[in-house]
């Protein structure tokens, strides 16, 4: 009854019409309107990383496809090399920073922006929330910082910019329905060559802090201007 043809046709339709694995949900006025108090957590510090050599390796899938198993092995070897090169660069930049911390400048900027606006009362924690902290507030918001650091933004010129990537998840208290569920990727507006950054530790520090502060303000503005 449900033969091979039907199965394959259904599979084809499913794959072609598939939507994204993740659907973004951003704050909107109706959802945020009744919220005054928010418990906010930044449980992760985030990983400091450089995505430069890895970002340049766009030809990897083509190589693997053309040369089969040999290509795959070759790609894996190149990938490992790229990760190693990026790791060394990350260490070098890390040495320029007094403290490699994706979280503190971002959290501080977020709190400051919200406080200035006087629209919400936010209880902000740099750890997962305890149960008691999720009670008695209107909303619960968690920011998961994945990476911060520097990434390739102009392959032609070989220029990098500071960046931070994180996820935001917010629910009204007592509800599982997300009113904010999204990934944010914020990149600094200024870009530099690695050679410039490698010879100017103060510039590395300045760009790194700036993008985190910009991100914190921007996240707060997502709440203030839904």
């Amino acid at each position: 009854m449900f033969g091979h043809k039907s199965f394959l046709t259904s599979l084809a339709c499913a794959l072609i019409s598939c939507g994204p694995v993740h659907n973004e949900i951003r704050p909107d006025p109706a959802a945020i309107g009744n919220i005054r108090t928010i418990a906010v957590s930044f449980p992760q510090q985030g990983e400091f990383a450089v995505f430069n050599e890895r970002a340049k390796a766009n030809a990897a899938p083509a190589v693997a496809g053309m040369f089969g198993l040999v290509g795959l092995i070759g790609v894996a070897a190149v990938d490992a090399q790229n990760v190693s090169a990026d790791g060394k660069q990350a260490k070098a930049f890390g040495a320029s920073l007094e403290q490699v911390d994706c979280r503190a400048p971002l959290q501080s900027s977020f709190e400051h922006t919200l406080k200035e606006a006087k629209r919400f009362v936010a209880y902000v924690y740099n750890r997962p929330l305890e149960r008691s902290e999720t009670e008695g507030v209107d909303g619960i918001l968690e920011f998961d910082i994945h990476h911060c650091g520097f990434r390739l933004v102009d392959q032609n010129k070989g220029e990098v910019a500071a960046f931070v990537e994180l996820s935001a998840h917010m629910t009204p208290s007592g509800s599982r329905n997300a009113i904010w569920d999204d990934r944010e990727s914020i990149t600094g507006s200024d870009r530099y060559s690695l050679s410039t950054l490698n010879t100017d530790p103060e510039l590395v520090r300045k760009e790194f802090i700036k993008v985190l502060q910009d991100a914190g303000a921007r996240l707060a503005n997502q709440l203030l201007y839904p």
């Binding site: 091979h4 043809k5 394959l8 046709t9 599979l11 084809a12 499913a14 794959l15 072609i16 019409s17 598939c18 939507g19 994204p20 694995v21 993740h22 973004e24 766009n58 030809a59 990897a60 899938p61 083509a62 693997a64 496809g65 053309m66 933004v153 102009d154 032609n156 910019a161 990727s185 914020i186 990149t187 507006s189 200024d190 870009r191 303000a217 921007r218 503005n221 201007y225 839904p226």
Partner: protein, 211 residues
């Protein structure tokens, strides 16, 4: 029979959307969804928005259709020139934030599109669609022509899916454009520069250019 059917469907799958033909996406910023940001906190002013420049290194396309090996197969284009798409998005944002756009503005805006690119990354189980929209805006005081503010803005959006055709690509590019516009709307340094300039002009100060 089964083998032939399987082969036909797999060919259709892997050549999703006719990989060898050009795709033309209707990328635009939906002005109905334009949001207010800190830009709305300043008194309404009129901006003159000049034509934007397409300063991308590759102006012939916004991306490539790729096969599952990641090889470029055909061009991806936009229905409107990208500089018009971005300019219209900036104008929509200014209006949504309570400002006027037209001739004889208090401020003049010039802009250039530096990146507008759709990319695909094939992973083991999913395909990742990546949209990037970058532009640089320069804002001048009128009539003196003094530069008040300049900044590069970036919009980046990606989504993972098990597959997707032009509708998905369009959604990704629209989202990256919206994120770029959002970064303009949320730029508090921009608002501070405009407010400062307006205040100084109101006081009759000689307004110096931006740093």
């Amino acid at each position: 029979m089964f083998k032939r059917t399987t082969f036909t469907i797999m060919v259709l799958l892997f050549s999703s959307g006719c990989a060898l033909t050009t795709a033309t996406l209707n990328v635009n910023y939906d002005s109905d969804t334009a949001r207010k940001g800190p830009l709305s906190s300043m008194d309404a002013v009129r901006f003159s928005v000049a034509s934007f420049k397409d300063a991308r290194s590759d102006t012939a396309r916004i991306g490539f259709k790729k096969n599952l090996y990641g090889m470029n197969m055909a061009d991806i284009l936009t229905k409107q020139p990208v500089e018009e798409v971005v300019r219209n998005a900036v104008i929509s944002t200014l209006k949504a934030n309570g400002h006027d756009v037209g001739e004889d503005g208090t401020f003049a805006i010039e802009g250039e599109v530096t990146k507008f690119w759709f990319d695909t990354q094939v992973n083991f189980w999913t395909i990742e669609f990546i949209g990037s929209a970058n532009s640089t805006l320069r804002i001048y005081e009128k009539p003196s022509g003094t530069l008040v503010y300049e900044r590069a803005y970036n919009g980046y959006y990606d989504e993972k899916s098990m597959g997707g055709l032009e509708g998905s690509w369009e959604r990704v590019m629209n989202a990256s454009l919206a994120r770029m516009v959002e970064s303009i709307m949320f730029d508090q340094d921009l608002v501070a520069a405009l407010k400062d300039n307006t205040r100084k002009r109101g006081n009759g100060d000689n307004v110096a250019g931006a740093d």
